[in-house]
């Protein structure tokens, strides 16, 4: 837990390299899950 706290801690609120990496990984994963689930749902429904 201490490591996690240290990752997030930066006296002036500045981003660490790990923080920026996490931000973009999160963003990428959200859009990937969203678009793939939507695409799959369209794919299973389009022939009806």
């Amino acid at each position: 837990m201490t490591e996690l706290a240290l990752l997030l801690q930066d006296g002036n609120g500045g981003a660490t390299a790990v923080g920026i990496f996490h931000f973009f990984v999160g963003f990428f994963l959200i859009l990937t899950i969203y678009s793939s689930f939507l695409g799959f749902t369209y794919w299973i429904s389009k022939d009806e």
Binding site: M1, D10, N12, G13, G14, A15, L31, F37
Partner: protein, 447 residues
């Protein structure tokens, strides 16, 4: 700790929760909004006898039924991740919100049952259409109630009320200071989000299809989706302002973090998305007025003027207050916070921008609805107008993700290491305040 202190390699456990919740919200909001819009459309079809409404409602209902599993699976995965990665925090929430979670579970169950029944008896109730429409609205209502329950929890995390008795625990925690504005914000947002997505999807299908009847249908669908999307979007500045006012009054540090501090760039990002949606929507309306069955040149000229004002007001919202743009990545110019940018201050410029945007929005959609009453020639829209619809759909998803990030990052008031429940429980799940209703179940009776 009940199950030990686990972490997730590479991405960390915060990102796991964020990804699961944000993905779930993108589906859950779609399902709630789509059920309500589909039920309304079915009702409009019943009243107007126009076949487009019925076709649209049925297709949307089918998509909701198929999509439900994805949204539900993400919700279950999220709860599992929360129990596993933040067990103390989850027990704190259960301690305060047991009944709320229980009610939410039953609302969710009811919504599933009614949504599936609604779609399944579409043909069976073809001659009892009013009854069938009621099914749709009940499903939408149950979805809204589930949303209301989780909004109580989400708003409590940002603005927890001080609890001094057992009676307070439920009432003041449920109706905490930002619960009602958050709920209103999301209620309106459901319609706007789904409207823009429907419009974007229609734009894509319009460009892809080669059949004339489909071109007419998808042209109509883009127009219909955008009325929902833009019509509800322009209500959001007032409701969003009420929400921010609630945060400022009850959690001023959080307000400062997201509005004035190092994270204020997220709000600049948000108004950029709003600018894209507003300008693209107004441009679409201007274009569409060319195809009104009864020529409306005056209305069209007025809407061109409205487009100019929309651009002006949105730009006013975007201008940052100072040159300390994104300090986290070193995007700072001049003297940083000391370098003020003209027209960038909140008062009066942002207020003028937001109020102006709303007024122009109401004006342009009133013009457009006036033209809609006389009808349009469908199937003649240009390619770029469909690209505008698709841009709105992409942007509304980015808006949702940005807003989710903004609300959650508001609890990083001191970033050491931020709060799970503002001022009460830290990100490392340690309890920091005696006055908070946050004693976990393992510590006995709550206050």
């Amino acid at each position: 700790m009940p199950i030990g202190n686990l972490d997730v390699p590479v991405i960390g456990k915060n990102v796991v929760i964020a990804v699961l919740v944000q993905s779930h919200i993108l589906f859950a909001t779609f399902i709630i909004g789509a059920v309500l819009i589909a039920a309304t459309s079915e009702y409009l079809g019943l009243v107007t006898k126009q076949s487009n409404y019925e076709r649209f409602a049925r297709n949307l209902a089918r998509f909701v039924v198929l999509l439900f599993a994805s949204g539900a699976a993400l919700a279950i995965t999220f709860v599992l991740a929360l129990v596993t990665l933040f067990p103390v925090f989850f027990s704190v929430l259960q301690n305060v919100f047991f009944w709320v979670f229980l009610v939410e579970a039953f609302m969710f169950l009811g919504q599933i049952i009614i949504v599936y029944a609604w779609y399944n008896v579409w043909d069976k109730l073809a001659y009892r259409k009013s009854l069938h429409v009621v099914f749709g609205f009940i499903a939408g209502f149950l979805g809204l109630m589930a949303m209301t329950m989780i909004d109580a929890v989400a708003s409590f995390m940002l603005t927890p009320a001080e609890v001094t008795s057992q009676a307070d625990l439920v009432a003041r925690s449920f109706l905490n200071q930002t619960m009602v504005p958050l709920n209103m914000h999301r209620f309106i947002g459901n319609f706007s989000y789904v409207g823009f997505l429907v419009a974007g999807w229609a734009g894509w299908r319009y460009l892809m299809t080669s059949r004339e009847d489909d071109r007419e249908y998808y042209d109509w669908m883009g127009h219909y989706g955008l009325i929902w999307g833009f019509g509800f979007l322009i209500m959001q500045p007032v409701i969003g302002y009420g929400y921010l006012k609630g945060i400022r009054e009850s959690a001023p540090d959080s307000f400062n973090t997201i509005m004035l501090g190092d994270k204020s760039w997220v709000f600049n990002l948000l108004v950029i998305w709003i600018a894209v949606m507003s300008i693209a929507s107004t441009a679409y309306f201007v274009h569409k007025l060319r195809f009104a069955i009864r020529p409306m040149e005056t209305l069209r000229k007025l809407s061109v003027g409205a487009l100019g004002f929309t651009a002006l007001f949105t730009v006013l919202n975007i201008i940052p207050a100072n040159a300390n743009l994104i300090p986290q990545i070193g995007l700072v110019f001049g003297q940083g916070e000391a370098t003020k940018i003209p027209l960038g201050s909140m008062y009066p410029w942002k207020y003028i921008g937001l109020i102006g945007l709303m007024l122009v929005g109401f004006f342009v959609i009133a013009l457009y609805l006036r033209a809609t009453a006389t009808g349009f020639y469908w199937g003649r829209a240009s390619r770029w107008s469909q690209f505008a619809l698709m841009a709105c759909a992409v942007t509304v998803v980015l808006t949702m993700v940005t807003m989710g990030y903004t609300r959650e990052t508001a609890r990083r008031v001191d970033n050491n290491p931020a709060y799970l429940i503002n001022g009460c429980v830290k990100l490392d799940q340690s309890l920091v305040s005696e006055g908070c209703p946050t004693e976990p179940l393992t510590e006995g009776e709550s206050k």
